[in-house]
């Protein structure tokens, strides 16, 4: 044992687990998992078939092991921890793969809050290594170091490898050895309870009851106290009491050791003392025997005297009694008469009946009121639960914010609707121009239609010209003023002009004119309409400039160019129109999407609004419920206050009725008694006569002679005798004297030493013990000489006896002194432990009261009707080997306004589990240790009905905020949604196929509101397969 004392104790202190990583544990991947401490962490699984087989339980078990949960039995080396290691049988590959022979649990602990610098300065990495074989030392080894010391690697294989080398680099902490399981809880947490867990049986079956692992109603009251004590830290103080008791026990052993020493000595002293005692007894017996002999004589005399006096007294007494009974008989007759006639009593009877009637009806009225109120409270509760369910849609908005968001969403929707209209118009315009371009009737449309009707062919100028890309800059500007012009064969110009007389402003351009071609001109699109002549003329008239592209007409006109789309050529112009349509259509689609998005926002805003309203309604309902509860309480109180008056009235009524009956019986009984008395007196008078006759037959004078003294001295002698002997008869005295002398002889000469008996005694003894007629008389004669002989013998022995007795007494005193010292030591120890208990009692009660208050609060706030704890001072242990048995009985109301019912009564399991969690939370909240707690719950909500699930997880989600408790819960699919709704972090362990022995990286979605904690772990996580967002 020595040399293995760990260096530190309670090294984790009040830090919390913020991240963990495991290597070769179950089928878990080696990816680190951050932990949003102080929230509910929902752990789900996705195995190849269902949510099982992904290692949820292993992860939970790992967390409970890291927190030194007692279930692991660290004192025995936590043997079950080996089951956490990768196991080829579980992985279904025992014919291919082997088991892991060691693995690591790594936890990162940091303060619950603080800046990044503070966190970095205070972070602590804890490693637990599990070895399958404990051949070479303990199964569990613990190492730790300040800061983050963790394996890092881009792949699973690298991380697994890195783990071994990081472990090697960490120093063992117990001298040259590692801290082993036995010292783990003390080293990490200083024996503070940091974890309460329910682990599913597949991982760890606790043999001992645990508040979460067993149904609460199966756990003893004493065990519940112990659990609360451990959670609140009073167990460390109880430890002192145990030590005091241990000390008491040791002192008691010392005292009993001294006692047994004394007994051993007494055993040897006894032999001698017995002899002396026997002789001393014999001496006393001889004296006594003489006394008895004399008493006998006195008794004979006094008996006669006494009888004489007695008879006189008896006669007098009989006279007295006769007189008394005559008087009594008269009194009885008077009482009977009095009872028969009593007006006051009749009045009292009437008053009692009417008072009771009134009070009773009042009480019933109040009872009805309470029933109504309860019905109302129940109704409101139902509404409240519905409202709360609906309030979930508010996403945390209050009513105002939701209204505002709704208005904003509505306005935004309206804007987008308008934008859609505009876009629609633009689109339809673009579409019609495309149609026109396609039909070629967009340019000089009216003119071309009229001419066509008269059989004159015409086309738009812009359609008639084909521009190469280099020509566009010059010619588009030049042609632009004539874009409305129609090209007509020059032969038909005049006719055409006449036809168009109805349309002033029409422009006609002659085609197929001879051209004086000055150079290269744009080509004509249609050979029927050669416009080169027109172009040539135009070319002559105009001068092109650039930047911006423009054309100067000799007439002083400037046309600015730079068209983005070709303005000429039919094909190109159609293409241009299509492009416009596409653009408009895109804009329109965008507008529609924006409108839809706004519509969605309105829907969610509407939902939130409803939710927020429901929340407000819930708040209102809570208020109403509160008011009703108060009213209910007030009514109950009123009824309670009425109760004593009512029961008094009832009692009075009952009393009056009973009295009336009793009266009649009394009268009859009085008359019977009187008759009996008269008869008795007759018998007494007869006895009077008989006594006077007996008196005359006593032979007193003869007896006075035998006594050798006055009758007074004889009775004086007898009076001085002890009370119990006063009644002895003369024969009694003789028998006593005879017995005493023979006892004295056998004391002096026990069978073993009978040959030392002097001859004289032997002879006398023979004489007095002869049988036959007259034996009694002979014995009485021999009595006195025998007495004398015995006295002489005993006087001879007196000297030595006295000396020996002195010696023994001295020794005995010494030994008793040492025994007394030991007893004082014991007594002091008893006092000390009693004092400890006294001081502790108030502390314990205070803590339990705190826990009870919190228990009540939590129950009321999360779906219950109020709860409490019942506890009493236990009697101090009668024996130091007994424990000081505190007991705590959790109680709660099963319905509104009902009484508190003890936890072990029949109830549904959901209710019981719910209370168990609340009790743990209450104890943690009332804890004096200031240490954060982790609740580990496998199969979270296993028993909960749908209705309770939300409330239960709400409690778990909230408790972290209130008490710094981190709740880690593993879930089946059907609980997932409820749990996520209240969680701070969602972890999903994944393994996609049976062929894969290991998990993939788990899904982690979570939010830690202490940003520095996220930052603290960033490098570790990103070094292990986590990414930073792009």
């Amino acid at each position: 044992m020595s040399g293995s004392t760990p260096q530190g104790e309670d090294i984790v202190g009040d830090r919390v687990l913020v991240g963990l990583q495991s290597v070769r544990i179950s089928r878990l991947s080696t990816h680190p998992i951050p932990v949003a401490a102080g929230t509910l962490i929902a752990v789900a699984g996705q195995g190849p078939k269902d949510s099982n087989g992904a290692g949820k339980s292993s992860l939970l078990a790992q967390i409970s092991l890291l927190h030194a949960d007692e279930q692991w039995r660290f004192g025995s080396g936590a043997p079950a921890a080996v089951d956490l290691l990768f196991n080829s049988e579980d992985a279904g590959g025992e014919d291919r793969w082997g088991n892991a022979d060691h693995g690591y649990l790594i936890g990162v602990f940091a303060p619950a809050a603080g800046t990044l610098d503070q966190l970095q300065a205070c972070a602590l990495t804890v490693w637990i290594r599990i070895d399958r074989s404990n051949q070479k030392g303990p199964r569990l080894k613990l190492r730790w170091r300040d800061g983050l010391h963790l394996p890092v690697g881009d792949s699973e294989a690298e991380r697994e490898q890195a783990a071994d080398s990081v472990w090697q680099a960490l120093p063992p902490r117990a001298g040259r050895q590692d801290v082993a399981a036995r010292d783990l809880p003390r080293t990490l947490y200083g024996e503070h309870v940091r974890c309460v867990s329910f682990l599913s049986t597949s991982v760890r079956a606790s043999a001992a009851p645990n508040l979460l692992a067993q149904p609460l109603n199966e756990i003893s009251e004493r065990r519940i106290f112990e659990a609360i004590a451990a959670l609140t830290g009073i167990d460390t103080e109880l430890e002192k009491e145990r030590q005091a008791r241990r000390h008491e026990y040791d002192r008691r052993q010392e005292a009993s050791g001294a006692e047994s020493d004394l007994a051993t000595w007494e055993e040897s002293a006894q032999v001698i003392e017995d002899g002396i005692d026997a002789r001393d007894r014999a001496r006393e017996l001889v004296v006594e025997a003489a006394d008895r002999w004399r008493s006998r004589t006195a008794r004979l005399l006094c008996d006669a005297l006494q009888r004489d006096a007695d008879i006189q007294v008896e006669i007098a007494e009989i006279d007295t009694v006769i007189n008394r009974d005559i008087r009594t008989a008269q009194e009885l007759a008077r009482q009977a008469a009095e009872l028969a006639d009593d007006e006051a009593f009749t009045r009292r009877q009437q008053a009692a009946m009417s008072t009771f009637g009134k009070l009773d009806s009042d009480d019933r009225e109040l009872g009805n009121q309470i029933a109504t109120l309860e019905q109302q409270i129940e109704d409101i509760d139902r509404l409240l639960r519905a409202a709360r369910e609906a309030a979930r849609d508010a996403d945390g908005r209050n009513e105002q914010a939701a209204e505002r968001e709704r208005a904003e969403a509505d306005a935004a929707l309206e804007d987008t609707v308008k934008a859609v209209g505009v876009a629609e118009k633009a689109l339809s315009d673009a579409e019609s121009s495309l149609r026109d371009a396609e039909s070629g009737r967009d340019l000089a449309q009216q003119q071309i239609e009229i001419l066509a009707a008269e059989g004159i062919g015409a086309i738009g100028l812009l359609d008639a010209v084909v521009l190469d890309e280099p020509d566009r800059a010059r010619w588009e500007a030049a042609l632009w003023p004539y874009r409305e012009a129609a090209v007509v064969d020059s032969e038909q110009l005049n006719r055409a002009s006449q036809l168009l007389a109805g349309i002033p402003g029409s422009i006609l351009i002659a085609a197929n004119r001879a051209s004086s071609a000055p150079g290269r001109l744009p080509g004509s699109a249609d050979p029927e309409y050669d416009v080169s002549g027109f172009l040539a003329a135009l070319h002559a008239r105009t001068t092109a400039r650039s930047d911006p592209d423009r054309v100067y007409d000799d007439a002083g006109i400037v046309v600015v160019g730079g068209f983005s789309q070709p303005a000429t050529g039919r094909a190109t112009r159609i293409a241009a129109a299509r492009e416009r349509v596409r653009q408009r259509s895109t804009a329109h689609e965008d507008a529609v999407k924006a409108r839809n998005a706004a519509g969605q926002k309105v829907i969610s805003a509407e939902r939130r609004q409803k939710g927020a309203r429901a929340a407000a309604e819930a708040y209102q309902l809570e208020g109403q419920a509160g008011t009703l509860r108060k009213k209910d309480q007030a009514t109950r109180q009123a009824r309670g206050e009425l109760a004593p008056t009512l029961s008094a009235a009832q009692a009075e009524r009952d009393a009056v009725l009973r009295l009336a009956g009793v009266r009649q019986q009394q009268i009859e009984s009085l008359q019977r008694q009187k008759t009996t008395l008269d008869n008795t007196n007759k018998t007494r008078r007869e006895k009077h006569g008989k006594l006077e006759e007996e008196q005359s037959q006593l032979g007193l004078p003869e007896l006075i002679v035998r006594w050798d003294g006055t009758p007074d001295s004889a009775s004086e002698y007898l009076r001085t005798l002890p009370d119990n002997q006063q009644s002895w008869s003369a024969d009694d005295w003789w028998e006593e004297a005879k017995d005493l002398i023979s006892t004295a002889i056998s004391e002096c000469f026990p069978p073993t030493a009978s040959d030392t008996m002097p001859m004289e005694i032997t002879g006398l003894l023979e004489e007095s013990s002869q049988r036959g007629p007259g034996s009694s008389r002979r014995a009485q004669v021999a009595f006195a000489p025998l007495l004398r002989a015995l006295r002489v013998y005993l006087r001879q022995q007196e000297g030595t006896d006295q000396y020996e007795r002195q010696q023994i007494a001295i020794q005995r005193e010494e030994r008793h002194k040492s025994l007394a010292a030991a007893r004082i030591g014991h007594e002091e120890a008893v006092q000390a432990s009693r004092a400890y208990r006294g001081a502790l009692t108030s502390a314990i009660k205070k803590t339990l009261a705190d826990v009870a208050a919190e228990f009540d609060r939590l129950d009321g706030a999360y779906g219950g009707y109020g709860a409490s704890l019942h506890y009493e001072d236990p009697p101090p242990p009668a024996d130091p080997t007994e424990a000081w048995g505190w007991k705590v009985t959790p109680m709660w109301r099963r319905a509104e306004g009902r009484r508190h019912i003890p936890y072990d009564r029949r109830a549904n399991t959901a209710q019981i589990d719910d209370r168990a969690i609340k009790l743990v939370c209450a104890a943690a909240a009332a804890s004096g240790t200031g240490r954060p707690l982790v609740l580990v719950l496998d199969e979270l909500g296993r028993n909960l009905g749908k209705q309770h699930r939300r409330e239960a997880v709400a409690l778990l989600g909230q408790i972290g905020r209130d008490s710094g408790i981190t709740v880690v819960g593993a879930l089946q699919d059907d609980m997932e949604t409820y749990a996520i709704d209240a969680c701070g972090q969602y972890v999903k362990l994944r393994r996609s196929s049976d062929s894969s022995p290991y998990n993939e990286q788990p899904v982690v979605v979570g939010y830690d509101e202490h940003a520095p904690r996220v930052e603290l772990l960033r490098a570790w996580l990103t070094g292990n397969g986590y990414r930073e967002p792009a």
Binding site: Q71, S76, S206, A207, A208, R223, R246, E248, P877, P880
Partner: protein, 225 residues
């Protein structure tokens, strides 16, 4: 579960149960006595009482083996029944060999004033010379079997190099003798005295006291509490 200890262990929490069970294992399985320092269940008076109850149910009892040291042994009443039925009594040659070791390693050194302390442990080895008598009686092979059994049961312990002249190993009394209750130790001493000096007054005193049956009763009660 249908264990023998369920009703004792049931009311306990994990930690106490663990402490109790590990102390039980230490007492019942350990070759040497267990120290209070290492086992909380031995330190705490209430737990130690429970531990003794567990042992009592299996016919065993706590035996104090020195300051803060404990081991377990047979309850005296149970041992008497076992012995009366011949259950667990060693075969004669094993017993003879053990007695020779006890005489040479404990009784003679004590009579010569070379050995203090009041138990059956010793640092004076019994050499092969001392045991030769037995090997002549029954043959070497049988004796070595007997000694092997005694070694395996922890009744004798091998000591090397005590007698280099003779072939064979030297022995001292083994740790299993520390499991004897005070009453059993005393009975062993008295049996030895009765065998060695049957005509002495010591023997008479022992016989007389046994006939009266008194002192044994008181000592065993005292040690059992």
């Amino acid at each position: 579960m249908s264990g023998l200890f369920d009703d004792l262990l049931q009311p306990l929490g994990d930690k106490q149960r663990d402490a109790l069970v590990s102390a039980w294992a230490a007492l019942e399985y350990g070759s040497e006595p267990a120290s209070e320092a290492a086992l909380p269940a031995l330190r705490d008076a209430a737990l130690r009482h429970l531990l003794d109850q567990m042992l009592q149910r299996t016919g065993r009892t706590l035996v104090r083996a020195g300051a803060y040291l404990w081991t377990s042994g047979y309850r005296d009443d149970i041992a008497a029944v076992l012995a009366a039925n011949g259950w667990g009594i060693l075969p004669p040659l094993e017993r003879a060999a053990l007695i020779l070791v006890l005489i040479h390693s404990v009784a003679i050194p004590r009579a010569e004033g070379r050995l203090a302390g009041d138990d059956w442990q010793s640092t004076h080895p019994t050499t092969p010379t001392h045991l030769r008598k037995l090997s002549q009686v029954r043959g070497q092979r049988r004796l070595s079997d007997a000694l092997q059994w005694l070694r395996a049961a922890g009744l004798v312990r091998l000591v090397r190099g005590a007698d280099s002249e003779m072939a064979g190993a030297s022995y001292v009394p083994g740790p299993a003798l520390r499991r004897l209750t005070p009453a059993a130790r005393k009975r062993l001493q008295e049996n030895l005295i009765l065998a060695v000096g049957p005509d002495t007054a010591l023997a008479t005193a022992i016989t007389v006291r046994r006939r009266l049956g008194r002192p044994e009763v008181t000592t065993s009660q005292r040690s059992g509490s």
